[in-house]
Amino acid sequence: MGALAEILFGGLFQGSLYAMMAVGLALVWTTIGVFNFSHGVFMMLGAYLAWQLVAFGLHPAIAFPLAILATAGVGWLLQATVVRPLIGRANLVLVVVITTLAAGSLIENGVLTIWGPRSKQLPPLLAGNTMIGSIGVSLHQIAIIVVTPLILWALWMFLTRTRIGLALRAVAQNEDASQLVGLNVTALYGLAFAIAAALACIAGIFMGGYRFMSPVMGADPLLKALIVVVFGGISSISGPIFAAYLIGFFEAACSYYFGLYWTPALLFAVLILTLMVRPEGIFTSRGRGLA
């Protein structure tokens, strides 16, 4: 009983963080067809911006939304400078990998210069601890588990029920036809990047609330998000969400039964096996498209 509760809780918690990160990667890939390697850096930057605003004395309820907006703005800017001008290049995917990596390194070193290497911590979403059955958990973790599905649901509603969401899905499917119905493709690309950056910032705020922050804190979540999208298929939004939770549970079970030591290796083995059977991920249909 205790084992099950622990795995369930751990899986939901990790899955929430992974989903938050992976959805942003998938959103950018489906709309623009590029892979944003600075996504982990967005997460880190978001956490630092939030920390700075809190340090200025703002209440987290004001500081966090401001940080999310600011990170979204950086996402927009990044798209306009290192992605948009390259659209149409023959080796777009490759060149954007290098420009987003370079931009990521720029931001990472900028953060290091501004805030220094000393670790920092954000206030938790909810302070305090509680017991679920026999395991002790923090309210911050519970808040993450509850808030994440709400945010993902809101994103889903935005994409499927609003006019702008419809436009984003359209751009993902056919850029020329989108222009011919009068969509502002440039703005929609920027919007996709901005939303992805905002989601990464939220993940950063989640993480900064229970772990020490550092300029390289985004690297590991980016890696996990990569594995999630490989696993779930990158060409949709729902695939990575399911895959994120699945991998969360898998990791929780592995570390419970085999220990943290072997979890990465096991995860990789499962990943390779999956790809040999289903090269485009397990939850994917053909083609590129949101939703």
Partner: protein, 335 residues
């Protein structure tokens, strides 16, 4: 200079064997003379690092530029070379030179293993899987800290030797010679390979997969060959790096090293081999020149990489060509 430019810009197979050989020997001779000019061990250290980068980058160009296989785990092959050498010499007590070659073999085997999951994949999925592979090799090395030292790394790794020449107090001339020899061997290997029939079929597969397959080129075999061939000297370079630095750390798996080497490949212009070698020299020397900028250095480098990618789609080669074309145009205009 003219000769250099031709070598860089000439498409593979265009320049005749003889001309390329002459250019190669000339280039090699110039590099071999450098220690006469740079007599201090610090400058020589920079040159040795440039040679190591050049090996890694030019081998990456084989899989990325010629093969069109987006192997983002290339630096993991380098890292595997580093750790293979460290473990073989330190734990297994193997002779350093044997371990150097064995590390290349280990990296080649690792490349064959990565090839299996990506055989049926395309584009972005290859990037994701190979990137994941690199990160997981790192995770495994960190988690197996009993033998790998985890995040602490491995220190006091045995170095290489040349008979009873003193490698420590020779102003680094010994390591300089070895590095240059390895780079020369690696470059000959790569150039011979890309000019061969195998090279032609690798390019054919990259440019038109369906057509090449219909003409009997095997995707599986070709990808395997491309990645394995790009791995051997990368692993050897890793082993040499470990022997030279005398320590191993997981930094070699980090994003920043991968970014720098990848920019060498892309700045050099893909599909030339020489482009990557030249870009490695340029970037290494450039990074050194900026040492005074301290924390600003990586930021300036990042901005410059972005600018070159934005302005010159084909990298430094395109930049050289554009400059050359502009010059040629200006010279020709009066007539």
């Amino acid at each position: 200079m003219t000769d250099m430019n031709k070598r860089v810009s000439g498409a593979p197979g265009r320049t005749s064997w003889q001309r390329e050989a002459v250019g190669f020997v000339l280039g090699l001779a110039v590099l071999a003379m450098l220690p006469l000019v740079f007599t201090d061990s610090y400058s020589r250290h920079i040159l040795i690092m440039a040679f190591i980068y050049a090996m890694v980058a030019s081998n990456w160009d084989l899989s990325l530029g010629y093969g069109g296989v987006f192997n983002f785990g290339h630096l993991a092959l380098f890292g595997i070379g580093v750790y293979a050498y460290a473990l073989l010499t330190k734990l297994a007590g193997m002779d350093p030179w044997v371990a150097l070659v064995a590390s290349g073999v280990v990296a080649t085997l690792a490349a064959v293993i990565v090839t299996i999951p990506i055989l049926r994949l395309k584009g972005i999925y290859i990037i994701l899987v190979t990137f994941g592979f690199a990160q997981l090799v790192m995770q495994i090395i960190i988690s197996q800290s009993d033998i790998t030292g985890g995040t602490q790394g491995i220190v006091r790794i045995p170095g290489l030797y040349i008979f009873d020449h003193n490698m420590v107090r020779d102003g680094k001339i010994g390591y300089f010679g070895i590095a240059l020899t390895l780079l020369a061997l690696s470059t000959i290997f790569l150039r011979v390979l890309v000019r061969s029939r195998i090279g032609a079929s690798i390019v054919a597969l990259r440019d038109n997969e369906e057509y090449a397959i219909s003409r009997g080129v095997s995707l599986v075999r070709q990808r395997m060959i491309t990645l394995a061939a790009s791995a051997f000297f990368t692993g050897v370079a890793g082993a040499f790096y470990a022997a030279y630095q005398r320590n191993a750390s997981i930094d070699v798996f980090g994003m920043s090293l991968a970014t720098i080497v990848l920019s060498m490949v892309l700045l050099g212009g893909t599909g030339t081999i020489y482009g990557a070698v030249i870009a490695s020299f340029v970037l290494t020397v450039f990074a050194e020149a900026m040492a005074d900028f301290g924390a600003w250095r990586p930021m300036i480098t990042a901005v410059l990489i972005i600018l070159v990618m934005l302005v010159y789609p084909s990298g430094l080669v395109g930049m050289i060509q554009a400059a050359w074309g502009g010059l040629g145009g200006r010279l020709r205009r009066p007539t």
